[in-house]
Symmetry: C2
Subunit: 206 residues, 2 copies
């Protein structure tokens, strides 16, 4: 899955010459966390965040007259991390996690064409784990050996089941992996009976 297929667009942006006050209004009205700052052609100049605006406006007192003179360009970050439409979504997630940021503008050349946010990553996570799909959710602890995943898929295929989603992650016990599958088209009891002999443990079925 690439950023281009899951980014939010068009992007709500702001001009560097806008006031912090108007940036604040826009952020609140749109329930967003940050605004890419762009020139008239849509090229990325910086990023202004809700946290930054809050801290500046709060310090100056929210009814202070001086507020109307504060400009976005004087408070925006100018070193902005970005991705392109061709970046894998996991790489965007890695940047957001490693740098503890809330949004990542997507650029084509210097132009802002989309945005990926922490919130949109959670929606994608839901889609990838099939959380909103029907089916039986099965969590297995299996020996971490080649062919193990295959033997489980083979059994499900033989039973005419359909794997809606599948993910693996580390087990707390060495030598094992955990996997969670969402499976459709097989009855729960029948599935448990068939899978149990293939794995170390059926950790959860629901």
């Amino acid at each position: 899955m690439l950023v281009g297929s899951r980014m939010t667009y068009p992007v709500i942006t702001i001009s560097p010459r806008a006031t912090l006050d108007s940036a604040n209004d826009l952020i609140n009205k749109e329930s967003i966390h940050s605004l890419p700052v762009v020139d008239r052609q849509g090229r990325l100049l910086g990023l202004i965040t809700k946290d930054k605006i809050d801290s500046v406006l709060c310090k100056n007192g929210s009814t202070n007259e001086v507020e109307s003179e504060l400009l976005v360009e004087d408070f925006m970050m100018t070193q902005v991390l970005t991705v392109t439409e061709n970046t894998p979504i996991e790489e965007a997630a890695r940047i957001i996690s490693d740098y503890d940021i809330k949004s990542l503008p997507v650029i084509r050349g210097n132009y802002v064409v989309g945005i990926i946010t922490a919130t949109s990553l959670i929606r994608i996570f839901l889609e990838m784990t099939g959380a909103r799909s029907q089916g039986i959710r099965l969590t297995l602890q299996v020996e971490d050996v080649p062919g193990k995943i295959f033997s489980i898929f083979k059994k499900i295929c033989e039973m005419n089941g359909n794997v809606v989603s599948f993910s693996t992650y580390n087990s707390e016990e060495k030598g094992y992996k955990m996997m969670t599958l969402k499976i459709d088209g097989i009855e729960k009891y029948e599935l448990k009976q068939a899978i149990t002999p293939l794995v170390y443990k059926v950790a959860d079925i629901r």
Copy 2:
């Protein structure tokens, strides 16, 4: 994957009789977004967020004397969404996404035993997609028919490859699904040659 295996604990909490000012200091010091409010026994009474504190302290002026008298209990949310250790992680993600919240206390009985945050969900997402693992990342567009996933896994197994992670998601074209796999132990060119005849399109390989 259940919440219990991935929640953050111990949890940083605060007393209802603490001042907003001290809650603010704690939130900033720990770089967190919210604090579960608990009684002396550790039972959940409410939740106080950074956004709430910011808006109250900002309104009152940050150097105002009145600030030191504002108590957490008067500003905390008392209707708090929670999960248990036995809740699937996808269900926690669904709640965080649907209610647009940033954290979810984990309770056992009425006692707070952990917390799941939007940030921790992104870390889990990275783990599940194998973003930090070695291997070839393959994105496929396949016909949405039973047995399709199986045929791909069978081929990888025959080539002595190892599936590090796997996820499916909707294609923009009807009748198709997208899938992203991370595969170890097979050379990139060889993998592409073997998989191409099985699928509608190898959308990306890197």
